[in-house]
């Protein structure tokens, strides 16, 4: 087996003595989608924030490509190739798609460091075409897009920047059926880009459609990790709820 992109070893998180996550051991490999499931308050969001560099773990180790690492802030996590697609999208609504795609790392040209719109637009168009994110134009502003299109843009942006790992927090929570299907197709296509993906979702159907493995949390405790092909909806529900 190859070295995992990201490995969590005995990660624990307490907030002022309250245990949010008791202990998690989890490996993510390139080209793999791992789903994180559990009820509200199970510790999913806390785990995402630890990996994204927003909270440091109380104890335990985070390994990337086999070496231990720590993220003092979100920027450090981003610099190590980790990107997060947040539930609330984090897009600037009134700016065009291509500016959102390059926000914070805009391309410039010439002695006056002028924005290279041409190249940003071209690269955006290539990317959305590859990911099959169907938007009217790279120059469209975000507010003109549907929820699914926005989520597509957010995922495309994360994909574009992430070299290693994309964290997705409820990427289809606000979407209708058809749009959910489109976004799932985009997520599936990311596997081909050799990125590891950690997906948080409330929809078990979606989890089974997308994930290679499923990690179940309950009250901050890691109940187990199952291959999707070797488990069933009923078993996962039982693990989530604790009711056999």
């Amino acid at each position: 087996m190859t070295t995992p992109v990201l490995a969590l070893e005995g990660v624990r998180k307490e907030f002022g003595g309250v245990v949010a996550i008791e202990r998690i051991d989890l490996e993510l490999h390139a080209g793999e989608i791992v789903a994180l499931v559990g009820d509200n308050g199970a510790g999913k969001s806390t785990l995402v924030k630890i990996i994204a560099g927003i909270h440091p773990p109380t104890s335990g180790r985070i390994m990337m490509d086999g070496s231990p690492i720590s993220f003092p802030n979100p920027r450090a996590a981003q610099e190590h190739g980790i990107q997060v697609v947040y539930q609330d999208l984090a897009l600037a609504d009134q700016q065009p798609v291509y500016m959102n795609m390059f926000l914070g790392s805009e391309l410039v040209t010439g002695p006056f460091r002028r924005l290279n719109r041409k190249r940003m637009i071209a690269e955006t168009e290539t990317l959305v075409r590859e990911l099959d994110v169907r938007i009217p134009s790279a120059k469209a502003t975000i507010r003109e897009l549907s929820g699914g299109q926005r989520q597509g843009v957010a995922i495309a942006r994360a994909t574009h920047r992430a070299r290693k790992l994309v964290l997705m927090d409820e990427p289809t929570a606000a979407l209708g059926v058809a749009e959910t299907m489109r976004v799932e197709a985009i997520i599936r296509s990311l596997k081909e880009r050799a990125l590891a993906i950690l997906l948080i979702s409330h929809s078990l159907d979606q989890v089974f459609r997308l994930a290679d493995r499923i990690c179940v949390l309950r009250h901050g405790v890691q109940i187990g990790v199952k291959r999707s092909s070797e488990t069933s909806s009923n078993e996962i529900v039982a693990m989530i709820t604790g009711l056999a």
Partner: protein
């Protein structure tokens, strides 16, 4: 909206159309009243120069989702300080002192907004009052004359190749402002900060620096406007700029910049400012009484703002 129209925001062009319409109207109605003479048109350009310069700064502030109410006071205090320094020293030092005053006030406003996390409306409301008081106290309500002619020509009444220096200042500030606002990474960060500060922060933009910077830009343009007034009048006075705040805001908003942040245009603000100046000029030339001028001007601005800010999707 049909897909063909997507990406084109019609509200951005209302001010251009409105400007042309009103210009055409005045050109016809005031044909024999000197409106179209080159002197009069240059007058409008000169008279609006300080407001245009301040409007450029305000576009940055609005785009970042902030507001700067202190610009009028900065005008007065920078002009007074420059004029006072010029009594004893050469004008370049006075220019540095005047602009430095603006930068300092901008840093104060900006630090309170960006790092102490106070709302810009309240911070600049407070500094507006504070600075107005300082401007009055500084000179005991007296005017300070300026006798250094090079300064007066450079910042005020001088001309180069028949074109007033104030027009050069306007073109320079609008040109540089437009470039920074529209064509640089900083400009993009200003837009993103005003549009969605949380998103901008999450993506790694240092929104505190952006907020600080826009308030410094705004105060600096106000200080420059103060120097332009001082050069034009050959002196400074505590009332300079007192009434400009609302004109600047009107010019910026009529020009298509949104008060809530994320959307702004420097060229629109230029057109907005020229529109305000043209209205003042044309309504006077029409021979209207002062009350009539105020009513007509108010109605036209209301119409322009209604057209500019109407949101098609709402």
């Amino acid at each position: 909206m049909t897909s063909a129209l997507r990406g084109i925001d019609p509200s951005r062009y209302v001010v251009h159309v409105g400007f042309l319409l009103i210009f055409a109207l005045f050109a016809v109605v005031l044909k024999d009243d000197g409106f179209l003479t080159s002197t009069n048109l240059l007058n409008i350009a000169q008279q609006t120069a300080p407001v245009t310069v301040m409007a450029v700064g305000m576009v940055f502030v609005f785009t970042a989702g902030e507001i700067d109410l202190s610009i009028g006071s900065v005008v007065a205090i920078s002009a007074l300080i420059a004029a006072t320094v010029m009594r004893e020293y050469a004008w370049p030092l006075a220019v540095v002192a005047g602009l430095g005053t603006g930068i300092g006030i901008g840093l104060l406003n900006g630090a309170l907004v960006a790092y102490a996390r106070l709302p810009s409306f309240l911070v600049t409301l407070a500094t507006m009052g504070l600075l107005a008081g300082v401007a009055r106290w500084l000179t005991n309500l007296q005017s300070v004359p300026i006798t250094q002619n090079l300064f007066n020509n450079l910042f005020g009444a001088g001309r180069l190749a028949g074109i007033p220096s104030l027009v050069f200042w306007t073109v320079a500030v609008v040109g540089i402002g437009h470039f920074i606002h529209r064509e640089t990474r900083f400009g993009a960060h200003v837009h993103a900060t005003g549009d969605n500060a949380r998103a901008a922060r999450a993506i790694g933009i240092r929104i505190e620096q952006v907020r600080l910077a826009v308030l410094v830009i705004s105060a600096t343009t106000a200080a420059l406007a103060g120097l332009l007034y001082a050069g034009r009048l050959h002196g400074a006075r505590y009332t300079l700029g007192e009434t400009d705040l609302l004109t600047v805001i009107a010019a910026v908003i009529v020009g298509g910049t949104h008060l809530n942040g994320g959307i702004g245009t420097v060229t629109g603000a230029l057109i907005g400012s020229l529109l305000m100046g043209m209205l003042n000029n044309g309504l006077i030339l029409m021979g209207l009484s002062v009350s009539e001028q105020m009513m007509v001007r108010g109605l036209i601005i209301l119409a322009a703002v209604a057209l500019t800010l109407r949101e098609p999707n709402r």
